[in-house]
Symmetry: C2
Subunit: 338 residues, 2 copies
DNA sequence: CTGTTAGCGCATTCAA
DNA sequence: TTGAATGCGCTAACAG
């Protein structure tokens, strides 16, 4: 049915080696025979079978992208960035969504095999020793995004510094009662950045000689609704905060919703600071920490191509910048009486 | 390096045929030898090479998903739905983003080949005759979503009826000056649904004995910003509309933004009706036509599996329901004076 | 410059 | 019940 390299060879009256040479420019071919081959290819509408080529070359020309919590807007933004590079290369993108530990372990022990993908881009997943062992076994080029690992190439953010800068900004506005709503520290996929952002929060307070009150620390899940519920709780306190910093924009959007429901004016009665700068953040005029999500995806793929083609001895590591984006959910303390 | 079926056979002291039989349960194996094979597999941490299996079986166990305008929220929602099914099957998902005609033609003439994917899921793309020809040539199972084609399986919406219902709702609220902001009718990827929704708009007016004014028809692009610009234009008219219906939620969000800038109260001075029900629509309390985006992705993959496994003679076709979601951007006319 | 051949790793048929 | 041989379509080494 679909024609093969043999059909082309026969049609052109040459051997299959010559056809292959024309296809891949792998060795010089006399112009005359090249033309014969090319027209045979055109007549038969031939295109080399991908499976055959994969097996023969031992390459898949496929990049696997592993994404936890595919429902999160920030992950989609990164994916878009990664896609924009891959679509212009001659690689395919295979997508693996991971929503729980079972799926993570299944993906991490079946996907990184020769013959499956040439390289792996892993988003926001702290790897277990078992996971790492699997990767090392097969020597599959791997790049981590938004996580670090001493033995793997990665692209990471300085979460401590970024969170610290954000909270210092709130302090400089005059705020003293600043709550932090974190994501679950027991997340199955790891919580290094959760720890780090909290650390940044603490460092900011200490740098300004303010005390860290454990009572100002709360945890939500990564859904907007959770942020709303936690905020409703906090904002009903007799001595409620004048500012809330959250682990993610999703949580912050929930906080905004809660404030609206309680008739609390943002930013005059309450400042809200998010983290991520997802598309919705702009719509909600949310002050937040920008992660350059799209750009991260782009650079992740570029780093992965580097690892695949240049096979560096040591893992590549690169820190990415973050920026504070001031919008309209933060304001100086005391501008407003209620 | 990575072990092969031969290594396993040697380790277990059997032939490779036996190992293959154990792996695929393709023929009975004596329990004793099965155990020997299984423990050899465990010892060597063997997993069959995907490329070898693909070539031998002539199947890729990969579903290709083609998505135009990967930046659009509604497409992501559908993708999530599709992913939720594929991740639990033993298929991989290969993603192909298509942002322009060049990319569309490249993808549609290189991807649907044997050895590349076993099936193709195509979102929101009106196919050209050339595109169709490519698909037919290779007989690759294909399912279209949000487009129709007599010769291909597809999942579609009754855009005419849905738009009509939406506009009739506005009319029933008392509105008479109802603008429609469409997307570009010259979109390179096709405009059947753009035509259909406009048709529904016209039908609604005619059914209520109202006239269709060409002046009430505008076009934007699919970005929010475009919706905003068009709306700014419309809302400054001396005889501005009391209601605006848009092709997409993105456009509607732009309209809301414009109204806010001009100090026009929604819904009391202006009703706004979107289309899609993306996640943001809920956040913006936008009245809209729900497309069940996630569910569409789910059903698309299920239909594709049907086509792949049962090879029906005729293309499968299924109409999907749409619902009007009333939120807070529409209100009866005349409740408010300005 | 080009035709032939030997694998790549597997599933499967044919013998035994 | 099992081992050996064949072929999937291709690339690359080998030989001319």
């Amino acid at each position: 049915m679909a024609s093969t390299i043999h059909d082309v060879a026969k049609q052109a009256g040459v051997g299959i080696g010559t056809v292959s040479s024309v296809l891949n420019n792998s060795r010089p071919v006399k112009e005359n025979t090249r033309q014969k081959v090319l027209s045979a290819i055109a007549e038969l509408d031939f295109m080399p079978n991908s499976s055959g080529r994969r097996l023969s070359m031992g390459k898949t020309h496929t990049i696997g992208v592993v994404i936890p919590y595919f429902t999160i807007a920030s992950q989609i933004e990164r994916l878009r960035g990664a896609m924009s590079v891959i679509v212009e290369s001659n690689y395919d993108m295979s997508l693996f969504s991971v929503e729980n530990i079972r799926q993570r372990d299944k993906v991490l022990q079946t996907v990184p095999r020769r013959g499956r993908v040439d390289g792996l881009l892993i988003f926001s997943l702290d790897l277990t020793d078992d996971n790492l062992y699997q990767l090392q076994q097969e020597k599959i080029p791997t790049v981590l995004i938004e996580t670090t690992h001493p033995q793997l190439s990665h692209l990471y953010f300085n979460d401590v510094a970024a969170a610290r800068k954000a909270v210092e900004y709130l302090i400089d506005l005059g705020h003293r009662k600043i709550f932090y709503i974190n994501e679950d520290l027991n997340d199955p996929f790891g919580s290094v950045n959760r720890h780090n952002r909290y650390l940044g929060y603490c460092q900011a307070l200490q740098a300004k000689n303010l005390q860290v009150y454990p009572a100002y620390y709360r945890e939500g899940w990564h859904r907007r609704e959770k942020g709303r519920l936690v905020a409703l709780d906090i904002l009903k306190l007799p001595d409620r905060p004048t500012a809330i910093f959250t682990f993610s924009d999703e949580l912050a959007l929930g906080v905004l919703q809660a404030a609206q429901e309680l008739g609390i004016n943002v930013p005059h009665e309450l400042s809200v600071m998010g983290y991520d700068d997802i598309e919705l953040a702009q719509f909600a005029h949310l002050t937040t920490v920008q992660q350059h999500l799209f750009e991260t995806g782009v650079q992740g793929v570029e780093m992965l191509f580097n690892v695949i083609h240049k096979k560096p001895d040591l893992p590549l590591q690169q820190e990415l910048p973050t920026d504070l984006i001031i919008r309209q959910t933060t304001a100086p303390l005391g501008n407003y009486k209620h």
